[in-house]
Subunit: 221 residues, 2 copies
DNA sequence: CAGTGGTCTAGACCACGCT
DNA sequence: GCGTGGTCTAGACCACTGG
């Protein structure tokens, strides 16, 4: 069982959906089961995931239909990821220091060490956001510190954890106005994000200062 | 089949989870199947929903565990709902008029009519937010207009639709600073929300101006 | 009436973790 | 080797829709 059958079916459906107009029906679960030579429950598992993701929707006693692209679910987690291939970042600051006032966010002692990285995220050389990323020093190997670029690709943390985000309005901090290339009186949104492992322990804490002219925060659920 | 078996099991599990410490294991799917005299797939369906909601998490080859309450998923949709029993609102403006500049948001013609309601949401008499709610006139019956309180409880729309929200930083509009009881220079977050039916048609469009001192926008996913 | 999704059963084999 | 969740089968009945 290299890749499960239902994931193959899901991918196949996804490919076919791309050529279909919005609100058009897909084949019934029984038909799909015959076509893919699988049991109905296996097909259903594939369809369930697509419904869950907002790619399809079901109408009871009627059928399953292609959803509008506008309705595909977006959780904000993706903001943290490099969703655009064109996105890039440069690290402008980096240090290992005692947690002190950040200790409560990482749920460690004030005297424990953390890794603090400040970066500017860019797309086509335009600044999207300034991000302060805080890691727990003891969870990061020396080797990882020497490969910051990969460490700051937070996917591995996000995939196996849960992300909580809080949004705060503010005037752009003076030291970041320049980085974001906006006026010092500009109102912005700052997002506080905590990535936690499944057992609830914080792994990473992030403050993101968004450039409102380059990035709109959007979620669909 | 009054209520499906798996929903009964889900509720029973939910009740039991309330008495359990975070990260403690629940019984295995096979044990639960015996206990509830149901097939494993039925039990699994119940557990799946709880995992999906973030109440439980699974560790492959190990078991299923009680998740941290912090990790229970929150989509922002709930901001629009009256999640707190103590929450209340007063309508401060209400009219039926041509859509004009709002037409694109509701995807109707500029000369079509809409229902515009402005309300202040409060909790313990403190102003949480000012909300402009726009309905498509032709989708609202005369009877519903006479029962604004119920119409503005948007649950029925949200349950059967999809919600997209965009967040914008700004200085509080002068006319709302007073309603929110904040200074006229305060940076706030304004959320634009569109509720769409499954076929993608807009049903309701909402602009929410949040009082940053009373309400923090938070999501967990 | 035929067809749909929603629910349910009673089995099965797999990969993997732990002891 | 045993127990776990992950996947899968080949059926079944239900409530509901639409022709």
């Amino acid at each position: 069982m290299a890749t499960p059958r239902y994931l193959e079916i899901k991918q196949q459906l996804l490919d076919e959906i791309n050529g279909k107009p919005v609100n058009s029906p897909i084949a019934s679960e029984r038909e799909l089961a015959i076509r893919f030579d699988a049991s109905r429950m296996t097909v259903r598992n594939a369809v369930n995931e697509l419904v869950e993701e907002g790619v399809l929707y079901r109408d009871k006693n009627k059928g399953t239909f292609v959803a509008d692209r506008k309705l595909i679910k977006k959780n904000l987690t993706s903001e943290l990821l490099q969703e655009h291939d064109a996105m890039d970042f440069s690290v402008i600051y980096f240090s290992v220091k005692k947690a002190e006032e950040m200790a409560p966010y990482l749920e460690i002692k004030e005297t424990d060490y953390m890794l603090r990285v400040v970066r500017v995220n860019k797309i086509n050389h335009r600044p999207l956001s300034v991000e302060e990323v805080y890691f727990i020093r003891s969870l990061v190997s020396d080797d990882e510190i020497n490969h910051l670029k990969e460490l700051l690709n937070l996917n591995s943390y996000i995939e196996q954890g849960t992300v909580t985000q809080r949004f705060h309005p503010m005037i752009v901090p003076a030291q970041y106005a320049n980085q974001l290339k906006i006026k010092i009186t500009t109102p912005i949104i700052m997002a506080e994000s905590t990535i936690r492992s499944k057992n609830g322990k914080p792994l990473v804490y992030i403050k993101t200062f968004y450039n409102p002219f380059e990035k709109t925060i959007e979620i669909t659920s």
